[in-house]
Symmetry: C2
Subunit: 346 residues, 2 copies
């Protein structure tokens, strides 16, 4: 009987078709594609010719259901791809994964833990070989090893209390401390804080660094100057406007992340261009996270710099070390990547 004409819109030839065309058995095709061990060169040529002619692609999904066969996929869950910082992080992960011949399945959580949970479940269902997650919260049940069925997990940027997983994080406390300190030594005494809520790992740690620096200089924290919870540029800008409207506004700002920095600078810029609202205040800013064109800002800018792409690479490296390296890496490791305080514009 003739095989039915390819009816499905996306019909794909299989080893069978290739075998028939090459006049061999499917097994010989499989062997050829696996490297050609124990197949006569002449036969290999016939097979490869047939592969080419039919435009055959090996079905990776069928392949990966066999025991011991890897899927070639790594699941990556990120909080916000729209943030250039995480774009670069993803780039670094992809780069290293590609070196290992792996592909990444990417999901954006939007800081929503429910979505994060869904994504991880889906990833596991797809037999990913490993998981890289920028956790959206301290909600940790779905990150526990037994929920993950033994799939290696590396957390990035943020760690989670009570989760015994590898993590690559930044020297948040040190960076925030040194960044804030750089303002203090310049003479600033009213330094505002813009950042995440303390329930977020980095929010907690960076605020700690800020507090530590102020304490060292014997300065009490003024709650009025502390704004937390802004997740995006819009709300950060509003918070900054608030600060500038205070009776006794800050002379400097420590911004704990990229989004808050941009929002703050937008607010400052708006004041510059609107004389009525401009009270002559041009707060200096220290930004945890570098940002493009910082050197062109109209106010003094210092950044607590670090390389998002390298963070991504390092995270992926740690994952692959777990997967393929010496099995005795020991228990979960937390790697801290360094941060560098850099005066961009004095």
């Amino acid at each position: 009987m003739e095989a039915a004409a390819p009816s499905s819109p996306t019909w794909q030839p299989t080893v069978k078709e290739v075998a028939k065309l090459a006049g061999v058995s499917p097994m010989t095709v499989s062997r050829t594609l696996a490297g050609g061990k124990n197949v006569r060169p002449e036969v290999q040529d016939r097979v490869l010719e047939a592969v080419h002619q039919l435009g055959y692609y090996r079905n990776e999904n069928a392949r990966s259901i066999r025991p011991g066969q890897a899927s070639g996929l790594v699941g990556v869950a990120i909080t916000n791809l729209g943030n250039p910082y995480y774009g670069n992080f993803a780039l670094g992960v992809e780069e290293v994964a590609a070196q290992y011949g792996r592909r990444i399945v990417l999901g954006n959580t939007g800081e929503d833990t429910g979505r994060e949970r869904q994504l991880i479940a889906d990833f596991i269902g797809r037999q990913v070989e490993g998981l890289i997650v920028v956790p959206s919260s301290e909600d940790a049940a779905h990150l526990q090893p037994d929920s993950l069925r033994g799939t290696p997990l590396v957390l990035a940027s943020r760690s989670v209390r009570g989760v015994a997983a590898d993590a690559v994080v930044l020297d948040d406390v040190g960076g925030a401390y040194r960044g804030t300190r750089s303002l203090l030594v310049t003479g600033h005494r009213r330094i505002a804080y813009l950042g995440n809520v303390t329930s977020v790992f980095t929010g907690r740690r960076r605020f700690d660094g800020y507090v530590r620096a102020l304490e060292e200089f014997g300065i009490e924290i003024d709650p009025e100057l502390v704004r937390r919870g802004q997740q995006d540029v819009e709300t950060a800008s509003i918070a900054m406007h608030d600060l500038l409207d205070l009776a006794d506004p800050p002379t400097a700002v420590f911004s704990a992340n990229n989004r808050n920095t941009v929002g703050a600078l937008k607010a400052i810029g708006a004041r510059l261009n609107s004389p009525s609202k401009n009270r002559g205040i041009l707060p200096a800013i220290v930004s945890f996270d570098d940002f493009e064109l910082a050197e062109l800002m109209p106010v003094p800018v210092t950044v607590v710099d670090h390389d998002a792409r390298e963070l991504g690479r390092e995270t992926a490296r740690l994952l692959f070390a777990r997967l393929f390296g010496d099995k005795d890496l020991g228990p979960a490791r937390e790697i801290e990547m360094p941060t560098h305080v850099r005066v961009v514009r004095a």
Copy 2:
């Protein structure tokens, strides 16, 4: 005989284990997971309990090898994830894909067509339901329908000559024309061009718009003012320095993309801070692609604005329309997204 203890590092329970624990057949488990049609509620509860207890995840790969079963994956190949523009594009794609319950497999081509070819082959091997590609060149063989085995393809941002695929692009010509024109009406006559080589779709079209505007004003193109081929901030900056060193430097710059804009502004900024090199030249800039903090630049800035995230959404929508919508969408469509000239700082 007892089942062997889970030995593989990432062993996963299967329908069989769940079935045994629930005291039913694998088929009943499958049915329950598929929605529970024709399964007694009481039995469903037992099954779900077993699923929960074992932490069972359905193997999507095994699932998708069955004919007619979709993989739930969309392959996305992007030129440069590190560019915030494409980060937002990817975000838009992910967003719409998620609405359709699809996950994206992401690859970065780095403008390398060989890598693009590999990625697409891999995607097809993974049985992706569709492909979204930002093509890196006019090299098109691997994008032809017969290479793709019927997998629907939507090109984004750039189209490719001779490829009959859907594409969502920008109004490049119009945007570049109106952007350049805005400089001309302000009185500028020496307007430099920074952008891609003309072998790139957008490079060609945006240069066309630039030329058209100059011609309308009876201005001849000065080859000295045209710099093409810069792919990143670094080289764009060098090109801009070159322009500023000319005996008769430009009074304004039309930058055809985000990376060139940032590079150009960095060069301008460097001159501002280095009096020795500063010849008092502050060229105005028109940037195809918006960029953050544009309003704080020390020179007049106008952007040819468009929404990368929306471009991503629209691209994904078109793909899903092909996949699930009315089958009579007709032949390949090219959608042009509008661009808006916006004076950010006069």
